[in-house]
Amino acid sequence: MQSLVSFKKVIVVSGNFPILTGLDFETGPGEVVLVKGRNGAGKTSFLRAVAGLLRITKGSALVLGVDLISNPADARHRVGLLGHETFLYEDLTAKENVTFVLKATRSNISKVDAALSAVGLTGRLSDLRVSSMSAGQRKKVALAALLAREPELWLLDEPHAALDSWTREVLDTAINSSVANGATVLLVSHEPLHGSLMPTRVVELAGGKVITDTRDIKPVVAEKVPL
């Protein structure tokens, strides 16, 4: 199996604190990896390291065939990151933000409208400045940009937070269909997953390293609380 992400004994020290402490992780295409762990375990830092945004202090790290130690920037544009921050410009509208992202990644900007309406940002909302949007609406704009970009590697850091159940379905469906097209997904989540999105593998972090790695997951679909 070709390896998409390969971290070997990765150590990240920042401000004299060891954030990642010898993390080993490997994944190939088409996987949906759920990354679990307590608050402060290093999940966000792990995803940022994979995206090439965090300087690796020691160890070896390959992402999409690029060595992050020597070229931290070269894999980034093939990676899609949706995190606690949405990377949006407050003074631009939803549409302008998505258009900018597509131009910046040299993608086809004809997909803007489709992506916006896929997440339900139509009419008034597509021309509303991000600064007047609710928490969930902002997240939707970021999500639309991600959907339109179709990256090869999705790094999702608690993507469901702030989204309503309708948009959660949209996200889950999008993840499933992109995985069907060969993309790989690393997903951090504290919520018990349910519904259509099922991980192929669960990795648990603690103290900045992987402590468990489970591959055979029984596809138990959770029963939703009827609220």
Binding site: R76, V79, L81, F87
Partner: protein, 221 residues
């Protein structure tokens, strides 16, 4: 790189056009600066006229702090800068785009401010070509140094105070050269061979080059 520069400049100018910060706030601020300088320095009547170029460039320098601060703040809000990294936007392009956008805003500001200086301090201007060329290169230099240092200073939560500390010393040669060259232009000794103009050209080229080369490493670090 050029494509990215255009994209960034377009976006930044659009944001400025939306928020009209330069027009509504930085420009009046520059005027206020001119007035308080006069306040603090009202000694003999001739003084202000003599130091007009110096005060003009001081006002521009202080305004430029706010201008570049904002240019970089656009990317640090909501960590948009990390976004640019992930989208793979060329760092040289980011630098040139930001410099262009800051340059356009500062140059327009200077045009209006010059009218103010002429009226308020009343110097006589002879060598227009020298005035314009000096202003052009001084502004390029200030914008380039400004964007670079502002990026250096970002990251620190107390950026607004760190920036002027870093920026003023490195642009003070520009301040000095622009002042001197305008003093020449305001007297009858104006000529395009002015040595201070040459210094300004050197400075602007050096800062542009430094920025294009190092901006990437500043962003990465």
């Amino acid at each position: 790189m050029w494509r990215d520069a255009l994209l960034m400049a377009g976006k930044d100018l659009r944001i400025e056009f939306r928020s009209k910060v330069t027009l509504n706030q930085i420009l009046p601020f520059a005027f206020v600066t001119l007035i308080v300088f006069a306040f603090a320095l009202d000694t003999s009547p001739g003084t202000l006229q003599k130091v007009a170029p110096g005060l003009f460039w001081l006002a521009v320098l202080f305004s430029s702090i706010f201008s570049v601060d904002r240019a970089v703040a656009i990317e640090t809000n909501d960590n948009a800068g990390d976004g640019l990294a992930v989208y793979g936007v060329d760092s040289g392009g980011i630098f040139l785009g930001k410099v262009t956008s800051v340059f356009v805003q500062l140059f327009l500001l200077e045009a209006v401010l010059l009218v103010g200086v002429v009226i308020l301090y009343g110097p006589a201007i002879d060598g227009w070509p020298l005035v314009l060329l000096s202003a052009f290169f001084a502004t390029v230099g200030i914008s380039a140094a400004g964007v670079m240092y502002s990026q250096l200073a970002s990251g620190s939560r107390a950026k607004q105070t760190l920036l002027p500390l870093l920026l003023i010393p490195v642009t003070s040669p520009v301040l000095l050269a622009a002042t001197k060259s305008w003093q020449d232009a305001f007297s009858s000794t104006a000529s395009l061979g002015d040595p201070w103009l040459r210094l300004l050209i050197v400075f602007s080229v050096v800062y542009l080059a430094l920025g294009a080369v190092f901006y990437g490493s500043i962003l990465e670090a």
